[in-house]
């Protein structure tokens, strides 16, 4: 979503993005002229008249679980967004019974929060597990 009109979205997709991504952008490109939606999400920059680089992860019940906001010059990292979605999906699947530690990726050890784990996380998780 940006403040650009749907017409500019079409031209940008057809002229440039389709050269990067085969078939063009597969998901809807939204138009937020005037920044009303961006303002509701707290990322519209009124002075510049553009949206900041905000990214929100929303679950199937419509609840926001995570967001990240960057100023314009720096791009996001997509695999971190995917990692976060996979982590939230895991937590949801286990009904919150399992939590994902720092640096978690699918297949890596999870944590089972409970009284037994208090003060004992060091036994089941090492800082070296942060890295792949």
């Amino acid at each position: 979503m940006s403040v650009d009109s749907v017409f500019v979205h079409k031209m940008w997709n057809d002229c440039e993005l389709a050269k990067m991504v085969k078939g063009g952008i597969p998901f809807p490109m939204l138009s937020d002229s005037g920044g009303k939606v961006g303002s509701a999400y707290g990322i519209y920059d009124e002075d510049a008249g553009v949206e900041n680089r905000g990214r929100f992860i929303i679950d199937p019940e419509g609840i926001i679980h995570a967001y990240e906001v960057l100023t314009p010059p720096v791009g996001r990292r997509v695999d971190e967004t995917l990692r976060q979605i996979q982590a939230y999906q895991h937590v949801r699947k286990t009904n919150g019974g399992e939590a994902t530690p720092s640096g978690w990726r699918p297949g890596k050890p999870v944590l089972k929060p409970g009284p037994d784990l208090v003060g004992n996380v060091w036994k089941v998780w090492k800082t070296s597990m942060e890295n792949d």
Binding site: M1, S2, V3, D4, S5, V6, F7, V8, H9, K10, M11, W12, N13, E16, G24, P26, F27, P28, M29, L30, S31, D32, K36, V37, G38, S39, A40, Y41, G42, I43, D45, D47, A48, G49, V50, E51, N52, R53, G54, R55, F56, I57, I58, D59, P60, E61, G62, I63, I64, H65, A66, Y67, P72, P73, V74, G75, R76, I85, Y88, Q89
Partner: protein
């Protein structure tokens, strides 16, 4: 004579000329009455919205609540044809 603008990642914006000081004073007077914008909260519902969209060749409309039951990644960005 127009100067060549340095192009960055945010869209260059225009604005009024010569009235800036007046406007600042007026805003300061109004500050106690200005609405405080609520910070977006994690763990709370995402604000529902409907907006025009371009999707695979069609101009259409998208509503967030249409996606209930699915995971959604909502990405905002400064502008088409900018660089990042």
């Amino acid at each position: 004579m127009t100067e060549k603008a340095k192009v960055g990642c945010a869209r260059p914006t225009g604005g009024l000329v010569g009235q800036a000081k007046e406007q600042t004073e007026a805003t300061q007077d109004q500050q106690p009455f200005q609405e405080v914008r609520k910070m977006i909260q994690v763990g709370k519902p995402a604000p529902d919205f409907a907006s025009p969209a371009y999707h695979k060749g069609d101009f259409t409309s998208v509503k967030l609540s249409d996606y209930m039951g699915k995971w959604v990644v909502l990405c905002f960005y400064p502008g088409d044809f900018t660089f990042v």
